[in-house]
Subunit: 330 residues, 2 copies
């Protein structure tokens, strides 16, 4: 059973995964590869379903086969069985590594990017995110769902075949907690959602907007950490991703696919992460928080300064990046 | 002039460096290299002093030449001239990118690791860190000094020749601010320094201790983010690195050099960062905060989950890593 440990100084939780423990010697040279292993079959391709753990759900067209599958991660960071066992050891806080870790295989084709999917297929992926969150929020031990996607070896992907993941944790992660607290403080002061205000300000100036549809906007954040960091937000207040109406998913799919396509064109970027920041599961809609996608191209390397301070040096002003992304042909 | 921008949602400051701005097209393929450029002479080697900006200080033995030099960073993240010009733009907070960014060239020899230096030479490097902090704290615009070191391309180093850097900022970075706040809350509750308590608990159990001298301890933190993440702390309370007595620096040099040597042996690790977390400049000694080194081997890649949540999955329990590092021959 993995263990959740909290650092007393900074308050950060870490998953210490003794079950998957590598011996120190396994570390030698590990992680240095810049390409995917070509050994063995792709475990996400049709015909190889036996290599993944037992399917949780799938989209199956009437003609047979599957359009998308959800399976447990074969090497889960958290385990779904057991109780939290919250306990202390002197200064330290510990709980059992209870949670869910699932993989969404987005297409049977061996595409290496979500942009290789049709808009309908991307819509299905977004719908599966929603369905998994709605299902997993029934487990009272679990409080937060992080949907994320790693594309390319440098972004931490271990499989080339396009896929997403969801990790559901028994705590609200520190970074999301910080966002929630600042947004609540803003709401208490101004009686408005900070991210709603931000959307209004950004649409009014336009300089950091990449693209806009009736219900969504893709923009470069004012204090972007990385070149071409891009966020996608609903224009109208919405605290929980999983409460998005099905009718809006085709539009969101179009925005996500177009935005990723622009980033891929702009920077020849094979490696990026995206993730959804959303409100904790099992709370009523919040007036002060607003879900959003964060897309993080892995172009520049973080160094000691970034690790030490939590602040970042971005050599491309987001206004330049936004202009470039608006003009790129997709 | 670079700009400091604060993200309103998370409170994080980012340096947007329009002066060094890369055009987006420059991003293509950038940062993918796994080795240092071999073009041109090493700008840190003797004879090439003209390639660095004007020297700030140096250690010069009586026989001529130099043992170590401090120079301004040729591509500084922050600029030393000008006022802060704090201002707002709607939701956003901005100030001028005022600060210092210096490079400590640790030896005239083209060593690629600090462990290639003698203990006396490492002591000199530690003394230079102290001297630069004592000098830069005289500037009332500057409030925090971050000393850090990037070793290897994967850790963000752009020069192979062993060197450290110091960036002095006009704000206390979010991560340090978070540590200060949690440590102050602990002190208010218990009337003791959290890190002093941690040192006592760790020395008592011993399972995460790598090595110990009369005044310092190197240990794997309980909630280590990364395999072989190692911290070095003074055993007795000390809030400011730059107040360390010169008489303790040889002992600290021995601990730092031995610890880095063990990590290099254990993981064949060419890439790591270290950094010093210390109290803000220009405040009186703090009863609640305790400076320390954080050494972060860059073995595993961070992925979307880590970026999204700020929490980490560590496949090597710190107790295993500590045992390995204790036993490794250096």
């Amino acid at each position: 059973m993995p263990e959740l440990r909290r650092d007393p100084v900074i308050g950060r939780w870490v998953i210490v995964s003794a079950d998957r423990a590598l011996r120190p010697v396994d570390m030698k040279g590990n992680g240095a590869s810049e390409s995917f292993s070509k050994e063995g079959p792709c475990v996400f391709c049709p015909g190889n379903e036996r290599y993944t753990p037992r399917e949780i759900m799938a989209l199956r067209p009437s003609g047979g086969g599957w359009r998308a599958r959800v399976v447990p991660n074969k090497f889960p960071a958290l385990m779904v069985e057991g109780d939290l066992g919250k306990r202390g050891d002197g200064l330290y806080d510990i709980m059992n590594g209870v949670g869910a870790h699932e993989v969404i295989i987005e297409t049977p084709r061996h595409e290496i990017s979500l942009t290789g999917l049709s808009e309908d297929e991307v819509r299905d992926v977004l719908w599966l995110y929603k369905m998994r969150m709605l299902d997993l929020r029934n487990d009272p031990r679990l409080v937060f769902a992080m949907v994320f996607k790693n594309v390319g070896v440098r972004a931490g992907a271990s499989q080339e075949h396009t896929h997403s993941q969801v990790i559901v944790t028994p705590i609200v992660p520190l970074r999301v907690q910080n966002e929630l607290e600042r947004c609540r403080a803003y709401f208490e002061y101004r009686d408005r959602c900070m991210l709603c205000d931000m959307v209004v300000q950004e649409l009014s100036s336009g300089v950091r907007v990449v693209l806009e549809t009736p219900n969504f906007v893709a923009l470069e954040p004012f204090a972007a950490r990385f070149p071409f960091e891009t966020h996608i937000l609903p224009k109208h207040h919405a605290s929980h991703y999983e409460r998005t109406e099905d009718g809006q998913l085709p539009e969101l799919a179009r925005v996500l696919r177009s935005t990723l396509g622009r980033i891929e064109r702009a920077v020849d970027c094979a490696s990026y992460n995206y993730l959804i920041h959303t409100s904790p599961l099992n709370v009523a809609p919040l007036a002060h928080y607003h879900w959003h996608f964060e897309i993080i191209p892995r172009i520049i390397r973080t160094a000691g300064f970034e690790w030490g301070t939590g602040f970042y040096i971005n050599p491309v002003p987001p206004e330049h990046a936004a202009q470039y992304l608006r003009e790129v042909k997709v």
